[in-house]
């Protein structure tokens, strides 16, 4: 059986902005509880407001929920050639331009930054640029999520 590696021609691609992800207060609390984030600003509205936030604050890795949806546009595309049974998460980076809070309406522009083959393994790096959409339609940069997947080729 021939195992195809991801198509390098996808490098440099940019996808259209996703539909908005609405950050719910209970979703922030649920995610915070799941990672064990104990700081009350994730859970208690009054504490969050006391720190100057409009609503409860998402944990530092919450943006992965938003980014992974955007990444599906690429990784679930059969033409991209990514066999998910051969994928290992290699690295992840979050850069927050401002914290995500409940009530945010977030749209994501996905970029395929690189697709590199080396010794039968492909390294695929995506970048999700997450923006908050204001009532006037303006986009404010919120988070940049860079994720690298390692895809094992045949015999690896």
């Amino acid at each position: 059986m021939t195992v195809a590696l991801p198509d390098p021609a996808f490098a440099g691609r940019e996808y259209p902005a996703t539909p908005a992800y609405s950050v719910g207060r209970e979703k922030v609390r649920e995610f915070a509880a799941a990672v064990g984030a104990q700081h009350p600003a994730h859970h208690d509205l009054e504490v969050a407001r006391g720190l100057g936030y409009a609503d409860v604050v998402a944990p530092a890795t919450f943006a992965v929920v938003v980014a992974q949806r955007a990444e599906q546009q690429y990784v679930a595309d059969p033409a991209a050639g990514i066999d998910f049974s051969r994928v290992v998460h290699a690295d992840e980076r979050f850069t927050h331009h401002r914290p995500i809070v409940a009530g945010d309406e977030l749209v994501t522009v996905l970029h395929v930054d690189s697709v590199m083959h080396r010794a039968g393994i492909a390294m695929v790096t995506t970048r999700s640029e997450i923006f908050a959409v204001g009532a006037d339609g303006d986009r404010e940069p919120v988070s940049t999520v860079v994720s690298t997947l390692a895809v094992r080729g045949e015999g690896k």
Partner: protein, 146 residues
């Protein structure tokens, strides 16, 4: 080396490279993995189906790397006194954390001051994240604005 007691935000001027600012032991068990799968939307079977995980060559069900990453940074948020102060957080996933059917996998987190930028008012906190004596995250670094 100092053990910080978190009362409000730490003062940048009081910190030195090498200070251990927080430690925590994470207990990762199967219910925790299922809970994270639901909260994050990552339903990959390797994180909850032992028969599937072993069929693809893993020693057992393994924790989501993103769960380990997400759980480890909690000590930094608590130390900073404000979760929104974590402006950058990155890691490599170097080793999986197998999670047994019974009991839990213990993961030890140590947060150390790695660098201080007095001009930008930021501190880089380096996280050492260890399971059974082996680092499971590599270059785990959180940048905190103080």
């Amino acid at each position: 080396m100092t053990e910080a007691v978190s009362v409000g935000a730490p003062a940048l001027e009081d910190l030195a490279v090498g200070d251990v600012v927080a430690t925590r032991t994470l207990e990762l068990d199967r219910p925790r993995l299922v809970r994270y799968a639901g909260a994050s939307g990552d339903f990959n079977r390797i994180h909850w189906d032992e028969a599937f995980a072993t069929s693809v060559g893993l020693p057992n069900v393994i924790a989501h790397g993103m769960l380990t990453m997400g759980a480890a940074v909690g000590v930094v948020e608590d130390w900073a006194g404000d979760p929104g102060a974590v402006v950058d957080y990155q890691t490599r996933f170097t080793r999986p954390v197998p999670v047994p059917a019974d009991g839990a996998a213990a993961v030890e987190v140590t947060a150390t001051v790695g660098a201080i930028d007095a001009e930008a008012r930021t501190v880089r906190v380096d996280l050492t994240v260890v399971h059974e004596g082996v680092k499971v995250l590599g270059k785990a670094q959180a940048v905190v604005r103080l």
